[in-house]
Amino acid sequence: MPLVVFVDDSETALASTKIATKDLPIEIAQYLSAIDALKDIKSKAIVPELIITDLNMPVMNGLEFLKELRQIDDTKKTPVLMLTTETKQELKEQGKALGLTGWIVKPFNPAQLQAAIKRVLRV
């Protein structure tokens, strides 16, 4: 099953995404910080087929995380979705320029989140 990585500094947000995606044929790895996710990606402990990340996080935000991912061979082209409360066009443009796949506004509708994952992974 494809591995989907969720990154969010909120434990409750991660719990909600887990509940919302439990019926999908995917494996899930969750991280409370982008730094920790990057560590596992760089060491090849995980090879995600899709990464879904929050934007506003301490230490490293979602856009900085995306920038880092694009520097790593394994994740240069990995689809990345931003799952955030932010709706500013300016931030979306920054994400687009970094090769972001899509933008999902919180609170997400579970059916829409599932559909987005299915569309990207073709499952």
């Binding site: 909120s10 933008w103 997400f108």
Partner: protein
């Protein structure tokens, strides 16, 4: 005049500290409560509908909103303390410092308002149909 303003500002600082303390307690309780509910749902394997999943996410938005107001309180607290420090050093610069304080407070308010908008997402938008966008 300066002494009065100092007394009032010290009182304001105490009020702000109290509000911050209450908000931190609310944040903690809200998080505990939501994690317990999430665990219960995950372990009991019960069917939940879309509106419940959306509601579960409101805790995250509540957290971000309260954190933003705590940031604003800390920023105001810092500005008032700088003002009081300056006032104690040299009471002649009273009006100059007051003007600077006003600017800092306005900036704190603007930052807080920006964060309120940034952290609301679609929570207050009844028509949140376009919540997914592909590039």
């Amino acid at each position: 005049m300066e002494k009065n303003s100092e007394t009032i500002l010290l009182c304001v600082l105490e009020i702000l500290e109290h509000i911050k303390c209450v908000e931190n307690n609310v944040l903690e309780l809200s998080k505990k409560s939501m994690l317990n509910i999430n665990s219960f749902i995950a372990e009991s394997n019960i069917e939940i509908n879309e509106s419940i999943v959306e509601s579960l996410q409101y805790q995250d938005i509540i957290t971000q909103q309260l954190s933003a107001t705590i940031d604003a309180i800390e920023s105001i607290d810092k500005s008032i303390k700088i003002y009081l420090h300056n006032l104690r050093q040299d009471s002649d610069i009273f009006s100059d410092s007051l003007e600077k304080l006003q600017k800092r407070l306005n900036q704190s308010l603007q930052n807080a308002k920006d964060k309120k908008n940034a952290f609301s997402g679609g929570a207050f938008n009844e028509d949140n149909e376009e919540s997914v966008e592909f590039f």
